[in-house]
Symmetry: C2
Subunit: 313 residues, 2 copies
């Protein structure tokens, strides 16, 4: 940062020969952060950190090094200054964890719902940023973390008819305090075996469809390769949902979905193990453009949809 | 733009050896764009163009070349799609006029007031971006355009007790359709005589104070050097205000305030003339840090304040 806040604009000096990677994401009060009445899951610090993680996830999905952020806040005039400082602290700490800083921004007064909008800039080696396009027939499909947990946590944390249970805490945490995948992404990128990537903030099936559409390929996901998540299954039962609807459907997971050249699997697994991040190979890329297939545990092929699959069809 | 919208983030390729200049600005419905009841001064296209101009003004004040923008929109679900397209067209056209494009963004639903937030990235030669710091004793002070006109237009355009008059149109236009000063700024920067710069979106006196504070200097503004603006004086009378309060006070003018090495005056005037932009030299920088003086037409020294000066003091 050559010139930071307090001038008309911030002046930033990119690394020589670096491409710039830019993303923007916005949280709206009562929509992107809310809790069941009587509970207080989101502190200002956690809201700030989560907005940072949402943007960091977009850069992770491009294998970009986070560098600079600009924050816009729309707050009601009566907003406590201490809470704003807490929010900026949570956001700043989450950015600093991955090497980025807030370089500027602005504040406007609003009367209704508050909102916070972050623009995050990163750097990538020219021509080496991961994209959604690039997946090839026979590539393997891998995913980080425990997809579906954040969506389960969001449902458990906002439904006032469900009593809180200590065992749900990992699901609540997946929603409220998502981890960063930036370091893993940068480590994996250096292996040069990832052919395409996307973050699954819209849900595994939906974002796999986006990646396949951009790459002009299809995908086959194998249930037997996907370790069961007993906690998620218990949450699905408590919520009256299919576990597959949580795993594959719309969620708030900031996890990475990658396609990997077949020869690169072992190296990716070793890198993920060293990073302490779960990385599971769950299927492969096919030549049937636009066709997403789910092989269930009984070996039956069904269309993979964002609602899992419908038993009554 | 190497990778545009539709991926997790945009990938941008800066010019080799360029510094990046980044700004963000937000408009909130009924606050940054509104008209008197029964009038319709702001079309969606004009709102989009004005948000672009607000951000472009920050880059002009840094002498940066505009390149890429990211747009975040918070809109009510019932917002007409055609109006959104008009807004993006107005914004895109205003950016294109100065060489910039929208490279990404996002859209969220809101229930209360709508808002639009733009982050604009530009490039500058390393170490050559204008800043607020840099003004030196004996430098000259210059300002573009007709400061105060936008503020007069905003008051005339929002007060329902004042009948519209055709003669106010240039004032309304100064508010609704501000010009870009980017081309002039780039032309002036190439002369290498501007020592500090700021845009006067907070008003002439307030932003002159910001520049003086950053530079550790004072300023003397000479009323006899400042051409009278008869239209602004008539508007002040109609509004029941002092003309000086409009000229020096809080306004919505996206004009440039520059300090210039004394030897650079003629070259700046010639460049402005060629650009078709009014540039007036209105005073000089003094060594009295923090002291802003107004020499009135009778040669009396008074403190320069954001309310002009108070006759009854």
């Amino acid at each position: 940062v050559v010139v930071g806040g307090g001038d008309d604009a911030a002046v930033l000096r990119p690394s020589p020969g670096a491409d710039l990677v830019a993303t923007t994401d916005t949280f709206v009060e009562n929509r992107h952060y809310r809790s069941a009445p009587g509970t207080k899951l989101f502190t200002p610090r956690l809201i700030g950190a989560r907005l940072a993680r949402a943007n960091l996830s977009d850069l992770a999905a491009m294998a970009a090094r986070p560098r600079w952020a600009l924050l816009s806040l729309g707050v009601r005039p009566e907003h406590e200054l201490d809470d704003l400082i807490e929010l900026e602290t949570g956001l700043g700490d989450a950015l600093a964890h991955d090497g980025a800083v807030v370089a500027g921004g602005n504040l406007v007064a609003v009367e209704g719902a508050e909102w916070l909008s972050l623009t995050l800039l990163g750097e990538a080696t020219p021509g080496r940023a991961w994209q959604r396009v690039g997946a090839r027939h026979h590539d393997l499909i891998a995913v980080t973390g425990f997809p579906g947990r954040a969506g389960a946590g969001a449902r458990l944390g906002t439904r006032s008819d469900l009593a809180p249970r200590a065992e749900w805490q990992p699901l609540i945490d997946a929603w409220v305090r998502p981890d960063s995948r930036v370091r893993l992404a940068l480590a994996l990128a250096s292996l040069e075996v990832v052919t395409a990537a996307i973050d699954i903030s819209d849900g595994f099936a939906g974002d796999l469809a986006h990646l396949c559409e951009a790459s002009g390929v299809g995908a086959e996901v194998d249930a037997t390769a996907w370790p069961e998540d007993p906690l998620l299954m218990r949450a699905a039962a408590a919520l009256g949902m299919e576990a597959d609807a949580l795993t594959f459907g719309p969620s708030d997971d900031y996890e990475l979905l990658l396609t990997v050249a077949p020869t690169g699997r072992a190296a990716c697994e070793e890198t993920a193990r060293k990073s302490g991040v779960r990385l599971v190979f769950v299927g492969s890329v096919t030549g049937h453009a636009g066709t997403l297939v789910h092989l269930d545990r009984q070996g039956h092929e069904r269309p993979l949809t964002t609602t899992g699959y419908d038993h009554f069809r």
